[in-house]
Structures are given as structure tokens and as C-alpha cells.
Symmetry: C2
Subunit: 184 residues, 2 copies
């Protein structure tokens, strides 16, 4: 049982359940990753799996050097290329996304969904991020690009703001990552 009410499967949850059992998120994500890599013949090695887990450690984006530090604590000291190569693999496989405005990475909520653009709601208070897969946003972007004669290869939507939990006073998560203030 989840400590807070879970939304039904048929409608999108409002944001992250506060106090949800995150180990389920990680386990589920790992299961999906294993399955996808198996199908594709991609090698989810021990190192890559560990980096994946560290990035999935929370719903807040994780920086490459955070991963590096954790890795160095567990094993012998690691160097940047170790983690950047793992991240590169995970990005190529669509298992994680890069949050451009934070120089950090989050697990993908639906890696089986092919080639989706990244759409993210980023809470400036608790640092948590949820991924959207909203066809209306994609459509609006595609339409606008088409009018300009622009051939789209990919896009990123990063929305800053305050999540419902923080509006009410209560996300306990670690707080936000750096991030620049911005006018719009």
C-alpha cells in the first residue's frame, strides 16, 4: 500500500506521489531496461546498470559527477570517462534523458516509447522532475517548425516551476540542483 493515494491507471497522476516507495520505481525501471536491451542485443553491463540505478536513485536529476562520486565510493576511484561513457550508452538506448538546463540526467519513464522528445516539469523547490509525453505539445512544435520549413530531428521542452507537493508545503526531497534563474 502506498502511504498517499495513488491515482487510477487510466488517468495521469498529478505529479509524484509524496512518500511513494521509490524502490518500486527503480526495480520497474531496471526491469524495463533489461528487457529492452535484451531485445536489442545491447549490452547492459554491470557498470552501465549501476550508473542507471544511481541516476534512478531519485526523481531529481543527477549530475555526472554525482554518479562519479558514488561510483568511487563503492569501487576503486573512477574517472570521468567511465561515467560519461555509461551515460552515453544509456542516452543512446533512450533509458535516460539529459536535462539541458541542469546539466544532469533522469531516468526515462517510458523507454519503450520510441524516439520521444523530452518534455519535463522541473520543480525549482524540491528538484524533482516528471516527464511528460504530451502529443499536443509535440504537435504544436512540429506544426510550428513545419510552417518555418524546418526539418525537425529532435526537441527538448523543459518547464520550470513549483510542483503540487511543494505548493502545499511538503516535498521532503533533497532540494533542487544548481540551475540558472531565468526570465522565461
Amino acid at each position: 500500500m502506498s502511504p498517499s493515494m495513488s491515482p487510477s491507471k487510466s488517468e495521469p497522476r498529478a505529479f509524484l506521489d509524496i512518500g511513494h516507495d521509490h524502490s518500486h520505481c527503480v526495480a520497474d525501471a531496471l526491469g524495463r531496461a533489461e528487457a529492452l536491451c535484451a531485445v536489442r542485443g545491447a549490452r547492459l553491463t554491470k557498470l552501465r546498470r549501476r550508473v542507471f540505478e544511481l541516476i534512478w536513485a531519485s526523481h531529481a536529476p543527477v549530475g555526472a559527477y554525482d554518479v562519479l562520486r558514488r561510483l568511487s565510493e563503492e569501487h576503486a576511484p573512477a574517472a570521468p570517462p567511465t561515467v560519461y561513457r555509461a551515460i552515453e550508452f544509456l542516452l543512446e538506448q533512450g533509458l535516460i534523458h539529459r536535462i539541458e538546463s541542469l546539466n544532469a540526467f533522469v531516468g526515462c519513464c517510458d523507454p519503450a516509447e520510441e524516439q520521444h522528445s523530452g518534455q519535463f516539469l522541473i520543480c525549482e523547490s524540491c528538484g524533482n522532475v516528471v516527464e511528460l509525453l504530451d502529443p499536443k505539445i509535440s504537435k504544436a512544435i512540429e506544426e510550428s517548425a513545419r510552417r518555418a520549413g524546418f526539418a525537425v530531428t529532435g526537441s527538448t521542452v523543459e518547464v520550470r516551476g513549483i510542483c503540487p507537493g511543494c505548493q502545499n508545503g511538503g516535498c521532503k526531497s533533497g532540494g533542487p540542483r544548481n540551475g540558472r534563474a531565468s526570465r522565461g
Copy 2:
């Protein structure tokens, strides 16, 4: 007369006119900036103006250290805080935008338009960027965020692809800035 056909004022231009007289863009932008700062009582100092001009030097985003190099050529050698502070001012005034996926900056095409989200088409071939101000994209994002109970403070839309000129074979501009390959 422009060497390539100009679109009418009433419909949005397709992309940048190839071979347009860019000095006009810069002059116009500088005029708008002066006027806005005057109205607001913001101090567009000599240094800030020069940084603004250097960022407006092309339609491709310019990195802070590019600005720094130019500045150092003109005056005595400058240090990073000099340019970052000027950039901070220009961002606050909405005179330029940050392109998150490139760690670089472009002039805003319509700084009088208050608090608009950044929406950009970024050509991966020539490096040029055009800014969109598409209410449909904004609306779709706002609607999606509202459904999630998320209070938006700002957003960035960065669309990668190939501009019409490059599709036809011919933007002569300097080529793209670094930028990471991406799945979506």
C-alpha cells in the same frame, strides 16, 4: 532590396533570409534595447552594449568565452566575470536568451514582448537559430502543466533540425556550435 525574396509583413518569414544585411538586424536590436532600458531605468553601459552587439553578431548562438575572446582583443584582457555579469544583465532585461543545449546565447527577437518563454529552432548544419513566439506551443505547455497541478514560472523549447536554407544546400554561416547528439 534583399537579395532573396522577403516574406510579407503579415506572415511569418520561413527562416532567416540567406544573405540578408545583418547590420540592420544588429542596429534594430540595439535600438530596441536602448529604448527598453531607457524606459525601465536600466543601465545599458558601454560594456553591456558591446556584449549585446557581440552576441547579436550573428544569428548563431555565441558562447560566453567567445564574447570574452573578442572583448579581450578589443580592450585589455578581460576575465570571465566581466562577460558573465553583462550576460546576466542582458538576460534579466530579456534582451538575450540562453540556449541551454548549447551553453550559448542569442539576441531576443522581440524583447518588448514580456516574459515570453524561449522557443527556438536550432539548425544543426549552419548553427543559426530563430526564435518562435508561438502561442499554441505555450498554450499546450501551460495546459499540460496545469493538468499536473504544476505552477509554471518559465520554460524553454529547443528544437533541433535542419533549416530550409541548409536543406537546399546553402547557408554559408559559420557552422554549428558543439551541441550533443540526442535521441529525442
